[in-house]
Amino acid sequence: MCDTCGCGDPHLHPHDHAHDHAHDHTHHHEHGHGHSHDHVHDHAHGHAHPPARTIEVQKPALALNQRYADQNRGWFRAKGLTVFNLLSSPGSGKTTLLEHTLRAVPGCAAVVGDLQTENDANRLRATGAPAVQITTGATCHLDAHMVAHALPKLNLDGVTRLFIENVGNLVCPASYDLGENRRVVLLSVTEGEDKPQKYPVIFHNADLVLITKCDLAEAVGFDRDKALTIIRQVAPRAQILEVSARTGQGMAEWQAWLSS
């Protein structure tokens, strides 16, 4: 750790000068980064270093998102909606799972996030259920504010379950509460059993871990026992279900969980 500014890089602040000034060390002298003091000075520093004052702030970086999330939660409750936040890496089968779910379960709607295109919302609307796309541009996650703006675009008459398909990403979406009731994290058998170990934060807060594409398990040599052990380790509170949207395996259990 660099003692000069705390930036962690000792090479940024070469202090190759000799100085024998007397001053107390509560000062914080102003400097830019990457400077070098190659002069000799022996003056007292009092004039250049006014004492500092600490202002307590105590504010979470996500306080604003939390406010929107709490508003969403209130809105969902008022509408009688149970809301599921679906998280996974890209291509692990969120949209396919939802296509089958929206067809099978009455009273569902979906909000889907991607960086670009309406493709997923089009696929989901083809099921007959209301669905709205959020295109985030370059943003790697959905936040509660984006969701709040998408909600008025949905016709929620008769809808009791809302799915929010997050941007495919196992890192950033973990930090953003959207106001959901439950978090579902998907792990497809093609991704490797140890993925939950590599991305422990997102799995830690899962209410349900859904192992998807189980019809491909044998073909890709998926080690089921290893995967289950790892999931239980990083997501000790989560329930685990194994499904294949294509063959229908586990889909009844998934639907039962949605009502539990």
């Binding site: 400097h31 702030v57 105590q58 979470p60 996500l62 890192v171 830690h204 380790q233 990083v234 509170r237």
Partner: protein, 113 residues
């Protein structure tokens, strides 16, 4: 990747708290379950501060440990990310007591008497 937007928020909060004064230092608490990497946060900080009241500020990161309380044997323990079992009794139903923070604790500004 989202460290840049989170750091922007922390800097905006710091600037608001400073009420126009130059900022000497920001103290930020970050836990392993916050989903934020301290080094990426520092990088974002250095990228964002030029031209702001925090242009010459120091970033003090207080990295907190992941702490749990075992609901079975009531042990309090710290543990690395991904290993949550109670080291005393092996139970998995422990309650998170800290380690998911990302917050601006305080700032330092000049004390103009």
């Amino acid at each position: 990747m989202h460290e840049l937007s989170l750091m922007s928020q922390l800097l905006a909060d710091a600037t608001a708290a400073a009420e126009g004064a130059p900022i000497h230092a920001l103290k930020v608490r970050v836990g392993p379950l916050s989903g934020v990497v301290p080094e990426a946060l520092r990088f974002a900080f250095e990228s964002l501060i030029p031209g702001t009241p925090a242009a010459n500020a120091r970033l003090d990161l207080e990295e907190t440990p992941l702490r749990f309380h075992c609901l079975r044997c009531h042990a309090d323990y710290a543990t690395p990310l991904g290993l949550y079992n109670c080291p005393q009794c092996g139970a998995t139903d422990s309650e998170l007591r800290g380690g998911n923070e990302l917050e601006l604790i305080s700032i330092e500004v000049p004390d103009h008497v």
